[in-house]
């Protein structure tokens, strides 16, 4: 009775928020208990990808700039942390300095790489950003010669975990019968960062800058005629989006303890883009949903292999191939069923052709 009245007092939304908080807090322990530690790790990665997707959403969703090389900024953040917090150069700088530095550096890269693309439209932009992504990866792969900076394809190992004085997130402790492992700590760190970036994204979205981004997405010429300095506003979008990626990269390096160029391929850029588009471009909640779904789905599809065994009593299809096949199929089906994304913005912050009677789709795309 008391509970009911209290619920009433709290209101519908607050109650939902409270339940969400409890679920989010208990989630890693429940997963650990019932599905195994691997699943906590999967959720950790889902949160990291949420950060990435939120960042890319600023560039693609708000400002309408198709970026196919976004993973480069993730790489910049990861290598910034990896080089400054590992035996590679014998540097072990504190994380609270290196993580923001990585975000800042990635933001700078965003401006430097964004600047030459300002005049380009649509898919020209896509291929140039793709090129930058590849250029950065190739450099990371080859900068072990003549001076060894990145250690080439072998990557950087023994990267410091997040630690402060004697407290390190690499320790496992037992507390009241519950084992709390690094994956649990990082879950909360990533959760905090994702929440933080959600707030940042929403605030930007509803600000003067956010409106300027969307105006440029809708019509660049009209935006310029409204007194918007389109060059600076686009660069702001690149820088903000990139800094999200840089932060995520630093966290990734600390979490993994190991990074190599292999983690930063074009396929990863495309995957983040899929998360943004599939979730619902321009809508933060949709984007996070997309990121979590596409991170978790391939893992769920791992069960397709054993399922095949149980149902058919033999391996018709190699389990890893089956998984990718089903993943491809899922992308198609989800997009066909929800062309605007799984959870689009309330009044479509999408680049849907609004006035089909005045502009043909093809032409519209060129302008987009």
């Amino acid at each position: 009775m008391l509970l009911v009245s209290k619920c009433h007092f709290l209101g519908h939304k607050k109650l939902l928020g409270l339940i969400l908080c409890i679920v989010l807090f208990a989630l890693p322990f429940l997963l650990d208990q019932y599905l195994g530690r691997a699943w906590v790790r999967i959720i950790d990665f889902a949160l990291l990808f949420s950060l990435l997707a939120l960042g890319l959403n600023i560039v693609v969703g708000y400002a309408g700039l198709l970026d196919l090389g976004y993973i480069a900024f993730f790489a910049v953040g990861a290598y910034c942390y990896g080089l400054l917090c590992s035996p590679q150069f014998g540097l072990h700088w504190p994380f609270w300095f290196v993580l923001p530095l990585g975000a800042l550096l990635a933001g700078l890269f965003g401006i430097v790489l964004g600047a030459p693309t300002l005049k380009l439209r649509g898919d020209y932009l896509a291929i140039v950003t793709l090129g930058f992504g590849e250029i950065i990866r190739i450099f990371l792969n080859n900068l072990n010669h003549p001076v060894n900076i990145t250690n080439g394809a072998q990557g950087i190992t023994l990267i410091d975990p997040l630690q402060w004085q004697s407290i390190s997130l690499a320790q496992t402790i037992h507390w009241g019968g519950i084992e709390i492992a690094p994956v649990h700590y990082y879950y909360f760190v990533f959760l905090f960062c994702t929440m933080f970036m959600l707030v940042v994204s929403s605030r930007l979205e509803r600000s003067r800058i956010g409106r300027a981004w969307m105006a440029i997405r809708e019509d660049e010429v009209a935006a310029a005629c409204m007194g918007l300095n389109t060059r600076n506003i686009k660069l702001t979008a690149f820088a903000m989006g990139a800094s999200f990626g840089g932060l995520a990269g630093g966290l990734f390096a600390a979490f993994q303890g190991f990074i190599s160029p292999e983690s930063f391929t074009l396929t990863d850029s495309i995957m983040v883009l899929c998360m943004v588009v599939l979730g619902g471009m321009g809508h933060v909640s949709g984007v996070v949903l997309g990121a979590i779904l596409l991170s978790v789905l391939p893992e769920i599809l791992r069960y397709a292999g054993p399922l095949q065994m149980t149902l058919l009593h033999r391996v018709w299809v190699d389990p890893s191939d089956l998984r990718m096949l089903l993943f491809g199929l899922a992308l198609i089906v989800m997009m066909l069923l929800r062309p605007k994304g799984l959870w689009p913005a309330k009044h479509g912050a999408s680049t849907n052709a609004p006035s089909e009677n005045t502009e043909p789709p093809a032409k519209n795309a060129q302008h987009g």
């Binding site: 005049k119 291929i127 080859n142 993943f327 992308l331 062309p339």
Partner: protein
């Protein structure tokens, strides 16, 4: 000088294949304004089907006939796939947000890749040695009959496509759809049919490119469509995407740039960078070109009308 000429010849040869694949991207882009992300994989299927057909027929028929049959089978398979791709991934989303078909195309690309992995396995598949092409040396440049054949065939295909688009009724319908799909519909052009036709032609040319890749590299792989598609798309953009002549020029140019940079990057940078920076060089050229000409080499500058 000999090395330079040799690299030029190699580059043009590779470039002619890039150009054929780039045509598929540029034609679809011209009409729909969309990147056909699965096109590279269709080319891969063309290469794989050719190898299988050759494997079946080898020893039973004369080599010329085998190649012709294999090529025809590849074209049929690829055209069917192209049509299916259009039907499944693009047609239902023609009025959807612009990036939606990009995702379905990525999905189709994954489907094709892993189906190919199932059918042909994940290892490289080699072309059986069918014949020994006669080798020519001219001004220090080595070239064999097969390579000449590939190059000439590629040029022939490009020329006939250009003629087709310019001078036939269907070609003009394609142009009209490209300029303005809605007006074309009003003028009685069956735009849905034209779009399907575009996918079909792109896939057919892609199939031939697949055959050429078999002959040129002597092998094929389920994942090769990805990198090939990336190169060809780059070529299409370099030339001015949506522009058929641009795809041809861009393809040839990209082949030459790659070939020359692989040969000379080490010398030019005093050994600082090796040929593993080849793609970096390629992308820098692309970015440089686009900074000077934001619509590619031959692309019309989209003058902004206010």
């Amino acid at each position: 000088m000999d090395i330079f000429l040799q690299q030029m010849v190699n580059g043009l040869l590779l470039g002619s294949i890039y150009a054929l694949v780039a045509l598929g991207y540029t034609m679809v882009y011209g009409i729909l304004g969309l990147i056909n992300f699965a096109h590279g994989d269709i080319v891969m299927v063309g290469a794989m089907v050719t190898l299988s057909t050759i494997g079946v027929l080898e020893g039973h028929l004369p080599i010329g006939v085998i190649l012709l049959v294999a090529c025809l089978v590849a074209i049929v398979v690829c055209v069917l796939m192209g049509l299916l791709l259009e039907r499944v991934a693009y047609r239902p989303l023609r009025h959807a947000p612009r990036l939606a078909p990009l995702i379905t195309a990525i999905g189709v690309s994954l489907l094709i890749q892993y189906s190919a992995a199932l059918i042909w396995g994940k290892q490289y598949i080699a072309l059986p040695e069918l014949f020994k092409p006669s080798q020519y040396v001219w001004a220090g440049v080595e070239i064999n009959a097969l390579q000449i054949f590939i190059f000439v065939l590629a040029l022939l295909i490009m020329a006939s496509l250009a003629l087709f688009v310019k001078h036939t009724r269907l070609g003009r319908a394609m142009q009209a759809t490209e300029q303005n799909a809605d007006s074309a519909t009003l003028m009685g052009v069956n735009t849905t049919g034209v779009i399907a036709l575009t996918f079909a032609i792109g896939a057919a040319i892609g199939a031939v490119a697949g055959v050429m890749i078999d002959l040129y590299y002597g092998q094929a792989h389920y994942f090769m469509g990805f990198l090939l598609g990336l190169k060809a798309f780059t070529a299409a953009v370099l030339g001015g995407i949506g522009h058929i002549g641009g795809a041809m020029l861009g393809g040839l140019l990209l082949g030459v740039i790659e070939s020359l940079s692989a040969g000379y990057i080490g010398d030019l940078t005093g050994g600082l960078f090796g040929s593993n920076y080849r793609d970096v060089f390629t992308f820098f050229v692309l970015i440089g070109v686009l900074m000077l000409r934001p619509s590619g080499l031959l692309g019309r500058a989209t003058t902004e009308r206010a």
